[in-house]
């Protein structure tokens, strides 16, 4: 097989984009599992994070076929805002930010403990991990694809 530098670079970029899509899709299904199967009511902050997360599944999938190096340009703002929200939510949850600053006074509390996987991994942290991975991959992708 011919070792074509350009093709390899494209493949790596495609794979990065694919990984980002995979993370976004797994997170989307996971959040739907929490709310529709396990019936946890999503709090306000969770909804804002979902606004940043759900469209990524479509945007990134669209960027894969045919591969569009601009995909990261459109996906990164969403992932960035989502990361900020997830970071804020995690700080609230970890009580680094005092509870009286929390924005949800009505309905579901943003600091309520629903589940803690392995004893510490709660839903806000899962979201933070997902958005950290997404942002990192998309930043790398953007660096690699000068537009």
């Amino acid at each position: 097989m011919r070792n074509d530098g350009e093709t390899t670079a494209l493949d790596v970029n495609w794979l990065l984009c694919f990984c980002a899509w995979l993370i976004a899709f797994v997170s989307t299904l996971g959040s739907m599992f929490f709310s529709y199967v396990m019936e946890f009511a999503p709090c306000v902050l969770c909804w804002y994070q979902r606004i940043c997360l759900f469209p990524l599944v479509l945007i990134l999938a669209r960027g894969l076929f045919p591969f569009d190096p601009k995909a990261s340009k459109y996906a990164l703002p969403l992932a960035g805002v989502g990361w900020c929200l997830a970071a804020y939510h995690s700080l609230l949850y970890a009580e680094w930010i005092p509870a009286d600053m929390q924005p949800c006074t009505q309905g579901v509390s943003c600091t309520e403990v629903h589940i803690e996987l392995f004893g510490f991994l709660s839903i806000p942290y899962l979201s933070l991990i997902a958005f950290t991975l997404l942002s990192t991959i998309l930043i790398v992708l953007q660096r690699r694809t000068p537009v």
Partner: protein, 217 residues
Amino acid sequence: MKRTVFIAAAVALVAAFFVGSHFYKSGRAEKLGFMAEDNAETFVRPYSPTLGSEEAKVYLVKFSDPACETCAAFSPYGKQALEEFPGKIKFVLRYAPFHKGSEDVVRILEAARRQDKFWETLELLYKKQSNWTQNHRVIISRVWPLLPEVGLDVERVRADMNDPEITKIVEQDLADARALGVRRTPGFFVNGKPLEPFGARPLVELILSELRIQYPE
């Protein structure tokens, strides 16, 4: 090749989602089945308000919030079932005051019970629910003027509602709701079986299927 990988991943994830939900739900039903046998009291506490015969073999348990619209909409079903199958069904009401301020309404109900006006008060509160709730919040000041309609001594209700005995009841019901995984109201169980999926027709079917098991023709 890339397309295949993409489609395979998408299909696998969606399939995992549905398989996961199936296992989660059947696991929950099974767990609740064991609880119904071993810890029947989680479903029915000695203090719980009930309707229907003591001999009934089918227990319809409703975790309810007086401020919840769907709970009000479902309230005729329990009564209908009791009327249609006299002696075979026992209706149990549990509290799940998830709405802001509805714990006070539960306290009022418990205080009304001491005046033997529990079910009348509940019916009145459901009927007039839109008067005393706004954006899923309870406006308690609008509840008081309604109470004399069923002949309640409002002063006595005010005095009784903060009784620590009532606090215990509310706390126990909330703890049981949590233990049984009730996160939305109304939460129905028929002989320990959770209503799944939620809906009026599935509820009727669940009751009928349990009647067939307990009272084979």
